[in-house]
């Protein structure tokens, strides 16, 4: 039996909550996994599986007051963040162009260097492609910048002079356009 209203769900309750999820919620979490797995060592399927394993096995708590899809999202975000940190810290082996001699390969510490150049370049290209995508839409660019900088919606609306509806509509437009462009391979 739960200890009180603030206690996390027990394992039976977590299993029941997973059973009660709807197909659209399943789809939303799978899509969220695809979005969060980028830049990590996990595939989307593995990231989602890892989050579900941790929640169903009790390795990660499931707060009673938070809807399960959000709990799964939070678990995936945390796993993905840790993975990105690991990848940033992982040594990168650089090889002198035109040689296959292993002795000429050089291991660098990303803490001292810029990190994996290919990954950084890909991220930069994708970021710039998003800029191009919304080049004629200053409201969308403003909302993107605010989101990246972690600005709360209320503050963003005030700075950009938007109503709540305008903000929500703009952010929705951004989300959909970015996802569509990614699916179509327009973001690299």
């Amino acid at each position: 039996m739960p200890d009180g209203p603030v206690s996390p769900l027990d394992l039976r309750e977590v299993a029941d909550a997973v059973e009660a999820l709807t197909p659209p919620q399943h789809a939303a979490m799978a899509k969220a996994a695809k979005m969060l797995a980028d830049g990590t060592e996990f595939s989307a399927a593995d990231l989602l599986q890892e989050a579900l394993t941790q929640l169903l096995g009790g390795d990660r708590q499931c707060p009673r007051a938070v809807p399960l899809p959000t709990v799964v999202f939070n678990a995936m975000r945390s796993i993905a963040w840790a993975s990105r940190q690991r990848r940033k810290r992982a040594p990168v082996t650089l090889r002198v162009t035109g040689t296959s001699n292993a002795e000429e390969a050089r291991t660098v510490d990303p803490a001292d260097e810029a990190g994996d150049p290919e990954r950084i370049l890909a991220a930069r290209e994708e970021y710039e492609a998003i800029n191009v995508l919304f080049a004629d839409d200053p409201a969308a660019l403003g909302v993107i910048m605010a989101r990246v900088d972690g600005l709360p919606p209320a503050e963003t609306r005030e700075i950009l002079g938007m109503s709540a509806t305008e903000y929500d509509t703009t952010w929705k437009r951004v989300r959909r356009a970015v996802q569509r462009a990614r699916l179509q391979g327009e973001l690299g």
């Binding site: 997973v18 709807t22 197909p23 659209p24 919620q25 399943h26 789809a27 939303a28 979490m29 799978a30 899509k31 969220a32 996994a33 979005m35 969060l36 980028d38 830049g39 989307a44 399927a45 989602l48 599986q49 890892e50 579900l52 394993t53 169903l56 096995g57 809807p67 899809p69 959000t70 799964v72 999202f73 975000r77 993905a80 963040w81 990105r84 990954r119 950084i120 991220a123 930069r124 994708e126 970021y127 710039e128 998003i130 800029n131 660019l141 993107i144 910048m145 989101r147 990246v148 972690g150 952010w171 929705k172 951004v174 989300r175 959909r176 970015v178 996802q179 569509r180 699916l183 179509q184």
Partner: protein, 147 residues
């Protein structure tokens, strides 16, 4: 939006996180609409979720089985047996030892006979020690039956 030294990976991750967080908090019809507008097939995504859930359950099943197997392996092969015979009255234990000595162990019989001849009674401690040794050697069971 771009600049030297900017962490583009982190910026993109924040943007994706914000979009994903909003998506999972939408109502069912809103999710369907959002995925359709983004060009996604929600039934394929739902199938991806089901597959991940099945693998997660299988993974947990394997983990529990492994834990149970390890617990089983760490248990002693057999629980130590209680030597009921040691709780018998002294006289009965003495007779058991004498009978064993007579039937099975002439050396032990010699010790017992010598003790009797010298009018030295074997103490209960001596008897218990002998019985324990016989049980340990598998020559007597915990109920005092010789094997």
């Amino acid at each position: 939006m771009s600049g030297r030294g900017r962490d583009f990976e982190a910026d993109l991750a924040k943007l994706r996180e914000a979009a994903a967080e909003d998506l999972v908090s939408l109502s069912d019809p809103e999710i369907e609409e959002e995925l359709r507008a983004a060009g996604e097939d929600s039934s394929l995504l739902a199938a991806d979720f089901q597959a991940a859930l099945q693998r997660a359950r299988a993974d947990l099943g394997h983990r529990r089985l492994k834990t149970a197997r390890e617990a089983l392996n760490s248990m002693p092969a057999q629980a130590p047996r209680v030597a009921v015979v040691l709780a018998f009255p002294f006289e009965r234990k003495r007779k058991l030892v004498e009978r064993f000595a007579r039937e099975r162990d002439q050396g032990l019989l010699g010790q017992v006979t010598m003790a009797a001849r010298n009018e030295e009674e074997l103490s209960e401690r001596d008897i218990n020690s002998l019985i324990s040794k016989l049980i340990e050697l598998g020559l007597m069971d915990e109920h005092g039956e010789t094997r």
